[in-house]
């Protein structure tokens, strides 16, 4: 009853096309954003901010990038972590070598570098599709990490390629504490998410989806396949690059090329699958899920152990946690693919549909 659209008529195309046409949605989103910006800084503690919320936001951004490429444009990519690496190292080098460069400009340029690299490794997509393309992105994954280690210039000749992110300063204001970092990351991610939402509901988003669904038909109606695919790679890599820069500057502090492993690429792919392919909201939901999962397991397994011990005098061995995490991951992927291939975002939509009827059964 609360969620009815009754009485909300649209009299202009502009209002029909807005991001949240239903008033209740608008209210909810404003509430969430207000909560994130105003309430969390007050109630959030150090741990939550730096170990949960900041990585959640950063991974959401990377997942958003991958979602644009794989979910909207239909180009499977297993090299997400490599593009993040490009962003991280590019940002480091810009700040290092261009004295006085504004931090946000450095981040944007880092994203730009990642976009260029993305275009280069996206070129094969013009000839090859599906898993074959996944292999090309694997080449990117391995090659880029190798190159960052091999050419010490990237890490300013430090041993083993480790870079230490410089202090973040915007207009002389330093961003040191977890709270400050959180607000910075939140702002950047919010703006980029808005931009992504705008893009996917505009012509470029439709072109991406057309190429994903049936590229021959897309070509026939005038969409340029090459341009569309390469822009998907470019925009996606830009997002991943910025995410990588934030990863280094606002989360880890020090990072080396080997931190951007194939495992990380898979993790982000899982965020997209579980969250929902082709959905901006899904990227956030998926990232949240995968960030929270190890934490939930870390809490629940000892609790489970205590219960088991109390019941049958036996508890699971200590080594089990990380392996169980892998098994749960794998199992969940399969579960989601069977039950709801469109992920949490679709479940969310179905939930909203049900909410429209609530409390009536039909």
């Amino acid at each position: 009853m609360l969620y009815r659209e009754a009485g909300q008529f649209k009299t202009a195309y502009a209002t029909d096309q807005q991001i949240f046409p239903i008033r209740q949605d608008r209210v909810a989103v404003i509430a969430v954003v207000a909560f994130a910006f105003l309430v969390v800084p007050v109630i959030g503690n150090q741990y939550w901010l730096s170990a949960i919320l900041i990585p959640f936001l950063i991974f959401s951004l990377a997942a958003l990038g991958l979602n644009i490429l794989t979910g909207y444009a239909g180009q499977l990519s297993l090299g997400t972590a490599a593009f993040m690496a490009v962003g991280a190292f590019a940002a480091y080098n810009f700040v290092l070598r261009v004295p006085g460069i504004p931090l946000l400009v450095a981040f944007a340029l880092a994203g730009g570098c990642a976009a260029l690299v993305g275009i280069v490794f996206g070129l094969p997509s013009l000839r090859i599709k599906g898993f074959y393309l996944a292999v090309a992105t694997l080449a990117a994954q391995f090659f880029i990490v190798w190159a960052l280690v091999r050419f010490p210039w990237f890490s300013n000749y430090s041993s083993s390629g480790v870079i230490t992110a410089q202090q973040m300063k915007i207009f002389g204001v330093a961003f040191d504490t977890p709270l400050e970092k959180y607000l910075l990351v939140l702002s950047i991610v919010s703006l980029m998410a808005l931009a992504a939402k705008n893009m996917v509901r505009s012509e470029v988003g439709r072109a991406w989806m057309a190429v994903r669904d049936m590229d021959v038909a897309a070509e026939v109606i005038g969409i340029r396949i090459m341009y569309t695919k390469l822009t998907a790679f470019a925009v996606s890599s830009f997002y991943c690059g910025v995410a990588g820069a934030l990863f280094a500057y606002a989360y880890l502090g020090t990072v080396e090329p080997e931190a951007f492993t194939l495992d990380l690429s898979f993790r982000i792919l899982f965020m997209v699958i579980i969250g929902g392919m082709g959905s901006v909201l899904g990227s956030f939901l998926g990232a949240g899920f995968i960030v929270m999962l190890p934490i939930v397991l870390n809490i629940s397994i000892p609790a489970l152990n205590r219960l088991l011990y109390a019941l049958v005098q036996w508890s699971l061995p200590a080594s089990i946690t990380s392996n169980l995490e892998l098994m749960v991951f794998g199992g969940l992927i399969i579960f989601f693919l069977i039950v709801e291939p469109h992920g949490l975002a679709r479940l969310w939509q179905i939930g909203k549909e049900k909410l429209r009827l609530w409390p009536f059964p039909h």
Partner: protein, 263 residues
């Protein structure tokens, strides 16, 4: 009987000695015919005659090994799909080629992609030119939606629609591009009598109201004879008839082909 609703203009498309083969299979052999502006030209023939291949050649999905295509005075060996679209050729497909992951409205909006000029950055900010274009194109698309009477399904994902409505949406997408020439591949296949009548009406309206040249493949002889100005008959990749519906109906070669008489 086809009445002359519009003044039929000069020849805008000429196909000369088009030959097309795949491996050992010859789809088209030395087919030549022309299409005049504002007319409705039907391509008919038994199954496997090469009709769809002919349409695919016209808008560049297939490239013929021999022959030339002259469109609006430009002679070329082959068309490129993107170019064809830019020059005002739109088409529908035999097996519906809609984008199953998008809604009806979005599908039709993709038809207007060539009219949208805003860059990606502008679209990301959704301000100024990008916003205006989006609204302008939405307005145009709504006109097409009104024309084809599909208002009630505009937000429905295309994959959920029944076959007949999907065909209509595909036609809408083609019309949204404001084409000067429309290629229709069996637009009435699989429809019942009422749906066929509706589709016929739409095709005629498009030709009358917008002056669009129409090249259509159709199996229903009643429809073909009723609405076309001229007809081309193909059999086994060769042209065996070309003229007005009456002429073609009377041609012995055509009758033989349809009756299966060896020739």
């Amino acid at each position: 009987m086809a009445t002359s609703r519009r003044t039929i203009g000069d020849v805008i498309l000429t196909l000369e000695r088009i030959s097309l083969g795949f491996g050992g299979v010859k789809a088209l052999s030395e087919v030549s015919f022309d299409v005049r502006e504002h007319e409705i030209r039907a391509i008919i023939g038994p199954n496997g005659a090469g009709k769809s291949s002919m349409l695919n050649v016209i808008n560049g999905v297939y490239h013929p090994q021999q022959g030339t295509i002259t469109f609006r005075g430009e002679i070329r060996r082959e068309m490129v799909p993107h170019q064809a679209a830019a020059q005002g050729i739109a088409r529908t497909f035999q097996n519906i080629a809609l984008f199953k992951g998008m809604s009806v409205l979005d599908n039709i909006m993709t038809g207007r992609n060539l009219k949208m000029r805003a860059s990606i950055l502008e679209q990301a900010i959704h301000f100024g030119r990008a916003r205006r274009e989006e609204l302008d194109n939405r307005r145009k698309v709504e006109e097409v939606i009104d024309f084809l009477e599909i208002q009630h399904i505009r937000k429905t994902p295309v994959g959920r629609l029944p076959y007949g409505l999907q065909k209509r949406v595909e036609l809408a997408r083609a019309l949204a591009a404001e084409p000067s020439m429309l290629l229709l591949d069996e637009p009435m296949a699989g429809m019942n009598v009422e749906e066929k009548q509706d589709m016929c009406r739409f095709v005629l309206d498009v030709n009358e109201q917008y002056g669009t040249t129409i090249v259509l493949i159709e199996h229903d002889m009643g429809v073909v004879m009723d609405i076309s100005d001229r007809v081309v008959v193909l059999d086994y990749g060769r042209k065996i008839g070309d003229g007005t519906p009456d002429e073609v109906r009377a041609s012995q070669a055509v009758i033989d082909a349809y009756l299966g008489v060896a020739h």
